[in-house]
Symmetry: C2
């Protein structure tokens, strides 16, 4: 079984008007993604931002839960938050994975839009079950990953379609549903 | 196909030490649940709290998105937030459903713990596909639904088990995963 890593990108992502921006860290994104990752056995979740003050903020939040009083009161939360790792950019996340596993990760982008030739969640699950190499699932904050990210990935995963074509799920929900579809017990 | 409604209970729920409390409204819970409900075609999501000031807070947040500037800027968010309805208690939620559908809803409790005789998500999905009556899925904030809630429900759904027995998912993630398992396209 392959290892599936996660990365939450705050840059390069789109804003509401379609411009590429660096979005702000959201405390609850970090908590929710960490808890979902811990639940589904994801070995690490990279928090990607090039902004030094945002990196410092994320690290401060994490320290509260890993070394501070937060983790003493709620050890389960500490266990989850320990999976987070703040990195400068996507390359740094990939390098971390190479350091951990000795292999270059397969990059999967996610999107809320229909993309031609997208990989189904079923197909992605099959690959994870068959292959013996790391995969890195990329999630975008704001209005999603910027086009340049799609240029460097190995595949784009199909969007989570609900029942009526509404495509405005929170990244926190999309991440948890995808982890359940790709790694959940069947 | 049955209609599945959702209710997020802020009372009666447990706190960390096992006492029954009324928990505080969390802005992001309302947004995330509304967006997940809209995605999966849930007709209404009840925000249950007996505290008047918390009801007022929830209604104020909702008004911003339904009638205020929020909804003008983000119409998809308005569509989701419109599914929320603040109610005093579980009975009021059930009465609202009776008013809407003419039938008493089947009550399903959720828990992060293993419960004897729990209904599997597969089994719950089958029931939704077969029955022609409303169902109401109860989610607890804080440390989960208080015991008295389990006494009045028709079934308890199995917990979402990840891969290693870690049972500390955010209610936002648990809700989205459950909606995907119960209502998602197969």
């Amino acid at each position: 079984m392959a290892q599936l890593f996660l990365a939450l990108l705050h840059y390069p992502v789109l804003n509401r008007t379609g411009n590429t921006i660096a979005s702000a860290i959201t405390n609850l994104d970090l908590h929710d993604l960490a808890r979902s990752c811990r639940t589904y056995g994801v070995p690490a979740c990279y928090i990607v931002t090039p902004l030094k003050n945002q990196q410092a903020l994320a690290n401060r939040l994490m320290t509260h839960w890993i070394e501070g009083i937060g983790g003493e009161i709620l050890p389960e939360r500490r266990e989850a938050i320990k999976l987070l790792k703040v990195v400068e950019n996507l390359s740094s996340a990939a390098e971390e994975i190479i350091r951990k596993s000795g292999q270059t990760p397969v990059l999967w982008a996610t999107t809320a839009k229909n993309a031609e030739g997208a990989l189904s969640h079923c197909g992605a699950r099959d690959l994870l079950e068959r292959e013996n190499r790391p995969f890195l699932l990329l999630l975008g904050t704001g209005w999603g990953l910027a086009p340049e990210v799609f240029d460097v990935v190995d595949a784009i995963l199909e969007p989570i379609s609900g029942v009526e074509g509404y495509n405005h799920l929170p990244v926190r929900a999309a991440a948890s549903i995808m982890l359940d579809r790709l790694l959940g017990r069947r």
